[in-house]
């Protein structure tokens, strides 16, 4: 089952002589349960593509369908609703809200998604599952980078999204911590069936990926599946 389908997606910046096509014409389908990596050199269009898939930006041309919904037909409010309910984000710099505790950061995602159950329990359980049972009351600046990224993972997953977008999630972590973080995400992918899409240069991420999409100069250069992912 496809989660996300891109057809002829292009993204231009600027105009006239200063026009830059960050994405030219991408056709790509992401299936449920995939652990996909977007890779490529700087300026290849990884982040731009990730923004399209994550509904943070709209394409200049082409269409993006998320779970069958044409994203281009949605207004700002509906796009925000879609992101709140169906997409989780994990960022390179963790992007936790610094005035909120780990527990509150996770609860915030539930609050925005309109979660109707016991938010405290759901957030607490998710933090337990990423190994942060002892750190729930800590503010981001009272935690290590690895712990903050675990909070970010919990925040992305707690609302049970269809898709998690992870933009270079290990770039600010040492290799050991990065590996732990990737293992957690891979574990969640396998246990919960959550679809992950990464953008990265990190070989550790590529080792664990089931599918690797290589971009070059805004075009899809290579799209391959790894049978021994995680080896």
């Amino acid at each position: 089952m496809s989660i996300c389908e891109l057809k002829g997606v292009g993204k231009d910046y600027g105009s006239g002589a200063a026009l830059v096509s960050a994405l030219k014409s991408i056709d790509l389908t992401i299936h449920a349960g995939e652990f996909t990596v977007f890779m490529g050199p700087s300026g290849s269009g990884k982040t731009t593509l990730l923004n399209q898939v994550g509904c943070l930006d709209v394409p200049t041309r082409g269409t993006v369908h998320l779970e069958g919904t044409d994203v281009g037909s949605l207004g700002q409010r509906d796009l925000a609703q879609l992101r709140a309910k169906r997409i989780g984000f994990i960022f390179q710099s963790f992007n936790l809200i610094p005035v909120l505790t780990a527990q509150e950061n996770v609860e915030l995602a539930l609050q925005l998604s309109g979660f109707s159950g016991d938010m405290k329990k759901a957030a607490s359980d998710m933090l337990d599952s990423v190994g942060l049972a002892e750190f729930k009351r800590r503010l981001p600046n009272q935690m290590s980078g690895g712990q903050q990224q675990r909070v970010a993972i919990a925040r992305a997953l707690v609302k049970n999204p269809a898709l998690v977008i992870a933009d270079e999630p290990t770039a600010n972590l040492d290799s050991k911590t990065g590996a732990q973080i990737l293992d957690i995400m891979r574990d969640m992918n396998e246990k919960m069936g959550v679809t992950f899409i990464f953008s990265t240069h990190d070989p550790m991420v590529m080792e664990r990926a089931k599918r690797i999409v290589v971009l070059k100069d805004g075009e899809l250069h290579e799209d391959r599946t790894q049978t021994q992912a995680g080896a």
């Binding site: 982040t47 923004n51 994550g54 943070l56 930006d57 700002q76 409010r77 925000a80 609703q81 879609l82 992101r83 709140a84 309910k85 984000f89 960022f91 390179q92 710099s93 992007n95 809200i97 610094p98 005035v99 909120l100 915030l108 995602a109 609050q111 925005l112 998604s113 925040r155 933009d167």
Partner: protein
């Protein structure tokens, strides 16, 4: 609720900046409340002193009576007949006759022009004597035998004390010179420079002997149940004839008249001073407006800086599904919180100060002494009781909150329009 909590913690991030914004807002509200309380209290002081000490609500006096201090001619006096007295008894709370004249008070070779007030036994029903302080050894005179009561100003200048014999030299109603030696019954302070600086209180029968005015008088002072009826009553009394409801004989109606009288009121006599007060109030309002504008720009700056400092956070919140409206609301709430806290502090500080001076008064006695004779002809008492008006507290608070909300709208719009794709990686 969640946005409010988030707003609160965001404000607590930069405590010094938040504190400064709050202090500026509180200063504006404090200035508004305390200034309005003081000016309102001073205006009320002027009005009440005019009523209780100088004129009552309405004062009948000869037409074209001069306004100059210590110029109290007695050549043109008014007559109030029995029917008019009856009308006054029926239609007013209280009234009394006063004859004002300007004798030369002579004692020990020194002479001084004073303002003499010939008063009747009904005087205290119109004029409040609660603040009067008759110095030790003195008493309130009732008749010519008791003598006169001299205010502290002339008493100090002439060196008078109770029991002294004072010579009063006057022009009579007909213009002849007259002089009498009278006993000083006491020395008093009336609690107001306009009394203390110049007044000698003379019992009615003694005044009649000095001025030879018979039953005529220079003033009829009247208290009403509603002070704002002053012009209606003044016009009726100086019209012709007076409407006397209980008279059956039409001929008597035509006799009910106060002859050749004009009238002044507490309002006409204080208008110039109140107008000055109004100018002061407008100036204060302008200063307050400037202060609150400064506070507004401070808030706008605070929120705008907060928005730019938190671009990545705003982007993250937008990525997580927060709508533009909620981002805008979050920043407006932060501004409103600054307004609420600043407003509450300003109201508490300003309210406490105004309440304190409304209860215990602000004593300007020394300041008035230092200003010399400048205040001697102004009707006010040196202890100013501020006007504690709860609606002004509410207005100050509301003004602070509304101003803070308005000031935070622009930065909130800036924050809400950030592009999430760019903002998350800022």
């Amino acid at each position: 609720m969640f946005l409010a909590r988030l707003g609160f913690w965001n404000l607590m991030r930069n405590k010094l900046r938040t504190l400064l914004s709050v202090v500026v807002i509180a200063s504006g509200v404090f200035t508004l409340i305390s200034g309005q309380g003081m000016i309102g209290g001073l205006s009320l002081n002027i009005i009440m002193t005019q009523i209780q000490t100088v004129s009552g609500h309405v004062a009948l006096q000869p037409e074209d009576y001069p306004k100059e201090p210590l110029s109290h001619p007695v050549d043109n006096l008014i007559t109030i007949d029995a029917d008019a007295e009856q009308w006054l008894d029926t239609n007013t709370v209280a009234w009394t006759k006063r004859i004002q004249f300007a004798p030369e008070a002579i004692f020990g070779g020194d002479g001084l022009r004073v303002k003499a007030i010939g008063f009747t036994d009904k005087d205290e029903t119109v004029f409040n004597r609660d603040d009067w302080d008759i110095r030790e050894g003195g008493k309130m005179p009732a008749t010519a035998e008791d003598g006169v009561l001299v205010a502290t100003g002339p008493a100090d200048l002439l060196g008078l004390k109770a029991g002294d014999d004072l010579t009063l030299k006057v022009r009579t109603h007909k213009g002849a010179l007259n002089a009498m030696s009278v006993k000083v019954a006491g020395v008093f302070s009336g609690g107001s420079p306009i009394v203390d600086s110049q007044v000698v209180m003379v019992p009615w029968d003694l005044a009649q002997t000095l001025v030879r005015n018979g039953d005529k008088t220079s003033h009829v002072n009247i208290l009403l149940s509603d002070r704002f009826d002053m012009n209606d009553v003044g016009q009726q009394l100086t019209g012709y004839p007076l409407p006397i409801a209980d008279l059956d004989d039409p001929k008597r109606v035509s006799e009910a008249v106060v002859n050749d009288a004009g009238f002044v009121t507490w309002e006409s006599e204080t208008r110039a001073l109140i107008d000055i007060q109004q100018i002061r109030q407008n100036a204060l309002n302008f200063i307050t407006f400037i202060l609150l504008m400064v506070a507004g720009f401070g808030i706008a700056n605070t929120i705008l800086m907060a928005a730019y400092e938190r671009i990545r956070e705003v982007g993250t919140l937008r990525a997580m599904g927060m709508t533009r409206d909620k981002v805008l609301t979050m920043f407006v709430i932060e501004g409103a919180m600054l307004g609420v806290v600043g407003g509450v502090l300003g109201v508490l500080a300003g309210g406490a100060m105004v309440w304190n001076y409304a209860t215990y008064g602000l004593d300007l006695t020394e300041a008035i002494k230092e200003s010399g004779e400048a205040n001697n002809n102004m009707p006010f008492k040196p202890i100013i009781y501020f006007d504690f008006d709860p609606s002004m507290l509410a207005l100050g608070f509301a003004f602070a909150v509304v101003m803070a909300i308005v000031a935070s709208i622009y930065p909130a719009i800036v924050a809400s329009r950030m592009v999430p794709a760019d903002a998350v990686r800022a």
